[in-house]
Assembly symmetry: C2
Homo-oligomer: 568 residues x 2
């Protein structure tokens, strides 16, 4: 069994990633992506972005990471985005309250602060550092807070998710998409969560990378056109009230296990994406949120989980958020964040209106009567028997029912305004990347490590070696290296140590192919190309190198290289 | 002459970019990149990243945007990264002090706080909003401040530049590059600057995008191998003590105008990059920093400037930062951030050492004498005549010179440790993007806008139109559209309005080519492809579409399409 520490140790040793700010003692929950890590990360992003934009026609946005307080009041994060914290009265160290009582409850983060506290008292829980007394649990907001502008300025927060930057821009998107639903928007970038005490390496970070997609749909139509093409695909499901099972997406929708086609389609889409970048399908499943863990506004929510050495871990959350987000931003901003649905044919509807009796208003209110009449007309009637208060020129005036009547009028309307619903696949990029590393990690008994990354995502595609650093082999190898780089293929040139050691270095970082320039190259222009996973080798001509590597990247089997070249 | 407001208006109208958080009244100095803007931005990044990594062998890192206080103490930002601010005693509004005195001094931001204040008093400067009295100028630190972790936690800042994230990781990079200089590291990402009152659209942002490269070199060798290949290239230079002139890079280095080959090479490299993404070479120059504006540690510094409607504007700074950054981080972290240079052959050097007289120490200091002797041996001698204070088991003991002698010993050393120097090309990505937009913007007398973006960076490569929305033209057009998208080419499908209007929409957003599916397509499978800049059209077969567009993207002239297809 792979251990996360083996993977993290490889990551650090070979330049995938390492804890940030190590020369200053580090900051928990922050990592640097090194040269190889960023290659892998960018490749995963590229697969994802292309799948959503070129594949599904989603558009992309890139907004600021700092937002003004109002945005996160509307989103609920100012009030709700918190963990319960306890501190030691002795050494002042702070802890997540649920972490203190894991031995006494199967699911401590589902407890209220009061429940946690009584469990702590009952079990006499003390500070793990110094044995001191702990404070009762309090809410600790997990957003990083800052100030925008000078002086006491404006309160701002680092975004806890990229999604809000999409929601607040619903209006320009709706216009950009020519006012047609459904449409989808993605955003890729940093998210921030000021964890109390981050643990578990790349799984729980204070600063992390997200890939979020928000699909705006008609609440009355959550079908999905392309569902038909994938309806027989099988997913590993763990429904909220049952055991793990394998089931086709169409059966799951028909049985009401998955709420509707759109969620089901994006679950399948997510599983394809995860497989494509190298998450092992045998260690992947979709777990439905329990009613108790689902946000109160969510209609349905599934986590794509991967089995890691840490246990089953959420990589992607796929939720139907209903109209929650847009409704809240409408409430806080007063902006018109609706869509308009034209009826097949325009409808006649009946509507109640207030009709002022101008003949009575005039004598009573004199010069003000016109304004009062207009104000009455603009109001929605509630109860025809009661006085109405109108505001005219800053003055509140109570109008007795005798001055107006409530009448029913008929109107022709061509359509309806409504607030779209949002379906959200939200991806934790760092977790996905770490899963890809752990699932690719293999170690033989003698300690030899091969990182079996998919070629599409491997940061280095080709290791390039001159057999010896003399006799012109180096110049030749550098030429081949340059040919590859100029055709956009990343390489690693290595001329030190035995060929075996150079292979080992490339196997350890997941480079799918190695090319060696040897004395035969000088005679007939051929080089050997070696396959990482089988260690097989074939000789090909230097002129064919970029084309062969290109074909391998597009899925050519290593064994078919000869056939491909003969076929030309 | 183009006006920035025309460009910003196009940007907003068509989804390139717009002020962020508009439904909440906006936040000055923050923008959203919309669907087209992010396409353009990603394409510019890709050109830059490939030039530095595949082209020059630089490695990449991606670190956190939040850093602990110590990092920015070491970098000097806690003490120095500030603007002078004044506030109104009446309405409390804040202003940059130098903005208040632009009428009274040609270069107000070069003044000290005291000089600014006396100029304000002399000219009786009042609050521009309410006419109230202004406070004297004070320093306002421009970093966004936050707290890492719970409680009073640890002070953290949002990075004002990405560079520090590279410097603090010098040690793993040096190891990754197998301890050889020179090597270069790039980082692409957010920078933050809490401006007092941001103006000028995309030019001065509170949250911006940077692309920085840090090249670590041997201080004694600032030559550059590839300089020979580009030595006759001509740049527009504005040296610190002279007029604008055109000069070859080799002449500029020989005459001492540019400090050395490495700076000169990266100035040329920068100019090539800027031209490649669409900055007009006629509106680009390199201005050398005046001695007064150069950081005290910089050996030489040049800004790549572009002429915008705002005037000449810095896009890229290219500086020799000497050993400043690494020295400071060594001082603050005590980490060994040096490089080792092996001599051609090992040298014998003479060195002064302290030799304790153990025979005298023993009787005087008894049990402590061994430790005192050892402590003396580890010290570097300064003056053999004076007592030395050593620390032993926490106690400071003064040792009289009679207890030791200073002797000269010979040693063989194989090399030298030294602190590398850093050459930094630092790019403001948002400014580059805005320059690309402004330089591409053309408007005819009748108001018709063509955005002449380079095809490599245009967010949409092909507009795809069915002539009519019937008779199967739509299905055919969608097929061609999908073919293009699946070969990785971004398209915009448009079936509404006249063909002329659809061309106009694509011209305005800079789409280089449009393809129309018409009735002839149904007969013989050909479509028209139209060139944005010449409005010329040719017919090509649908089967050839992805190949033709691919070739155009790689530089094929539109007029040579026919020839290319015949040649097959």
């Amino acid at each position: 069994m792979v251990d996360a520490s083996d993977v993290l140790s490889l990551c650090k040793r070979r330049g995938y990633l390492w804890p940030a700010y190590e020369i200053y003692g580090g900051v928990a929950g922050m990592y640097d992506y090194g040269p190889l890590g960023i290659g892998l990360k960018n490749n995963i992003i590229e697969v994802w972005r292309n799948a959503y934009t070129l594949g599904e026609g989603f558009i992309e946005i890139d907004g600021p990471t700092i937002g003004p307080e109002m945005v996160f009041k509307a989103s609920g994060h100012v009030d709700e985005f918190s963990d319960a914290i306890v501190s030691c009265r002795g050494c002042q160290e702070s802890y997540r309250a649920d972490h203190m009582i894991t031995d006494y409850h199967p699911n401590p983060d589902s407890l209220s602060k009061e429940e946690m506290h009584s469990l702590m008292l009952k079990n006499d829980v003390k500070c793990p550092e110094c044995g001191g007394e702990l404070t009762p649990p309090e809410e600790f907001n997990l957003m990083f807070r800052t100030t925008i502008g000078p002086g006491s300025g404006r309160v701002g927060y680092l975004r806890p998710e990229t999604a809000q930057g999409i929601f607040v821009n619903y209006i320009p998107f709706y216009r950009y998409m020519r006012e047609k639903l459904p449409f989808g928007v993605i955003q890729i970038g940093r998210g921030y969560r000021n964890e109390i005490s981050p643990r578990q390496g790349m799984i729980r970070l204070r600063e992390f990378n997200m890939m979020e997609a928000e699909l705006f749909v008609d609440p009355e139509d959550k079908s999905w056109d392309a569902f038909e093409d994938i309806k027989d695909e099988i997913l590993n499901l763990v429904p909220q009230d049952g055991e793990e099972l394998k089931m086709s997406v169409s059966e799951a929708v028909e049985k009401g296990i998955i709420a509707h086609q759109t969620i089901a389609y994006f679950m399948w889409f997510t599983s394809e994406f995860l497989k494509m970048v190298g998450v092992d399908p045998e260690r992947m499943r979709f777990r439905q949120h329990l009613s108790s863990e689902m946000a109160h506004y969510a209609c349905d929510c599934w986590d794509a989980e991967a089995l890691l050495s840490y246990g089953w871990t959420e990589l992607v959350g796929i939720a139907d958020r209903g109209s929650w987000d847009l409704s809240r931003h409408i409430e806080y901003s007063k902006a018109d964040m609706t869509a308009f649905k034209r009826f097949d044919e325009s409808k006649e509807i009946e509507r109640e209106v207030i009709k002022p009796k101008f003949g009575l208003l005039g004598p009573e209110f004199k010069a003000k009567s016109a304004k009062i009449g207009k104000a009455l007309e603009e109001m929605t009637p509630s109860n025809a028997e009661e006085p109405i208060t109108v505001e005219v020129d800053g003055e509140n005036i109570v109008i007795d029912p005798k001055f107006f009547e409530v009448a029913t009028v008929k109107e022709k309307v061509s359509g309806d305004k409504f607030i779209p619903h949002v379906i959200e696949p939200s991806h934790g990029l760092d977790r996905i990347l770490f899963t890809v590393m752990e699932h690719a990690f293999t170690k033989k008994e003698d300690g030899y490590i091969v990182l079996k990354l998919k070629p599409e995502v491997a940061p280095i595609k080709v290791g390039l070696f001159p057999l010896m650093s003399r006799d012109g082999l180096e110049e030749k190898a550098m030429e081949v290296d340059e040919d590859l780089r100029l055709s956009g293929i990343s390489t690693y040139y290595d001329d030190s140590g035995s060929i075996g050691r150079r292979y080992a270095r490339m196997d350890e970082i997941g480079t799918p192919w190695c090319i060696t320039v040897d004395y035969e190259t000088l005679e007939n222009g051929t080089v050997t190309i070696r396959d990482r996973d089988t260690a097989e080798q074939v000789r090909i001509h230097t002129d064919d190198v970029p084309e062969v590597v290109g074909a391998l990247l597009y899925g050519l089997e290593f064994n078919d290289i000869g056939e491909m070249l003969e076929g030309e």
